[in-house]
Symmetry: C2
Subunit: 285 residues, 2 copies
């Protein structure tokens, strides 16, 4: 394992997350190689100065890399993990940016012994996707979850921490199950609530042209996640099904209780419940 | 009914909405009188230049006003409507900014004949409340719902439109039931979803200190409304109960369907459903 300054880094997948990571790392390591399926994407990444060199072939792109970061959707990562092992040099640190970690870390366990695997998930993003939206400042001040395996060496962890700090983020060590459970409640559930809200609005008010005018900033913010990339979200939901369903059940119970209190007219209890929630939300931010 | 330029306007309630309205109207009419319960609030409004004069007594504040705007919480408005009738001059236009309209408009029907009543609800706001947050630019470019009564004269409507346009907003005529049904889905439901989300997070992750770090911008935005003022929201929920419960039931069915699709693993249907919702949300904004 090399030091960051001397490391050749390959970023696989040049969308918003990968393109931004490449741009943030460029100049802080020996070189950044960007790997994308389409030559056009590599061309844009080069033109924007986000990478030193590009490749459209995974094997060529990661050749002799000291650190490889998979920045593709979760199920693409799961597939790439089955084929990338033989392409990597001894001691190579192999990370990913996938939004769920349990299945990815389980798959990483199967990698050949000469590779140092480490799960990762930066807690940042944007409403937009693709290389056009890439921004080297994206990771500034964000929490970057790292989910080490038992086999991940201290030296590999050191390089990963150096990378996280180089892009302005804070490393946060979690095991993969704990990450996925927290993400189900704080990220995947909000997405599904936003979808349910938009679905309800369409059903209840679609025939009324005034609905769009009446929908103010509250609706805008609460429904924002419903515009997320569907392929990315399907990968997340299908690889974190159990935790997502549990979070949904807990939320449905909360909603049911609120509906019961609104219906019953028991204002004292409704006020107490809403005030508790308000306090908790205000303490969070 | 006078023209706006010659009108003496009383704004009752100097919180975020009333204070901002007073500030936006000052200089565009003969004078703006601010009415608040506490002398301290009136003092701040005067010091900030939001009003010409102040009063802490409702009768004195609205004396000889050509236009009175009630900018208090919904149930305070309902109460004020029972006592304000005798204080107002003949032809006075009496409006309100309440977030629900059906009960307010029904109460306005009971006003003495010499008053011109008109329901109103500007579709704007802020996360913060109180006179300190008042901002004369708050109403710029927002939709301002007007819910006229059968008895509201054309001349009164003309003055109301002039006021709405003077503060930079666009008038939108709706009947009170239609407004309340739309608001239930686009505003009151999002509030309750945000509360259910925060309640679920507290229940599922309260013991885990990493939850706050993992919660990223998606959770922040989806949960934002849970920090709303509880007294204001209780007034809204209790005066729009039927429409709110209907919107909640529709949303619960949407959520239930999403949970079913996630659980079943029927990815084709889940993708189709999420893609429809995504398209609808992207067309909205």
């Amino acid at each position: 394992v090399k030091r960051l300054k001397e490391a050749q880094i390959a970023v696989v997948g040049l969308g918003l997350m990968g393109g931004s990571l490449a741009g943030a790392l460029r100049g802080r390591c020996r070189s950044v190689i960007g790997v994308a399926r389409r030559a056009e994407t590599v061309k844009i990444a080069r033109a924007r100065g986000l990478i030193d060199r590009g490749a459209i072939d995974l094997e060529r792109g990661v050749y002799q890399a000291d650190l490889v970061v998979l920045a593709t959707p979760v199920r693409v990562i799961l597939h790439q993990l089955t084929e990338i092992g033989t392409f990597l040099s001894t001691g190579c640190l192999l990370m990913d940016l996938g939004s769920t970690k349990t299945q990815i870390v389980a798959q990483m366990e199967q990698l050949p012994d000469h590779i140092q695997p480490l799960g990762g998930h930066p807690m940042c993003g944007k409403n937009v996707s693709g290389i056009a939206a890439a921004d080297p400042a994206l990771y500034q001040s964000c929490a970057f979850v790292l989910t080490p395996l038992a086999r991940t060496s201290e030296a590999a962890m050191g390089l990963a921490r150096a990378m996280v700090e180089a892009i302005g983020a804070h490393p946060l060590l979690l095991n993969s199950r704990r990450h996925d459970r927290l993400a189900a409640t704080t990220s995947h559930l909000p997405y599904l609530l936003a979808c349910a809200l938009v679905g309800a609005m369409r059903k209840e008010t679609a025939a009324d042209s005034a609905a769009r005018v009446v929908a103010a900033s509250g609706f805008h913010d609460t429904s924002r996640l419903a515009a997320s990339d569907v392929t990315m979200m399907l990968d997340i939901l299908s690889t974190n099904r159990e935790a997502v369903l549990k979070a949904m059940a807990i939320c449905e119970a909360q909603l049911h209780n609120l509906a019961h209190l609104v219906q019953s007219g028991d204002e004292e209890r409704l006020r107490a419940t809403l005030t508790d929630i308000q306090k908790y939300r205000r303490e969070l931010y």
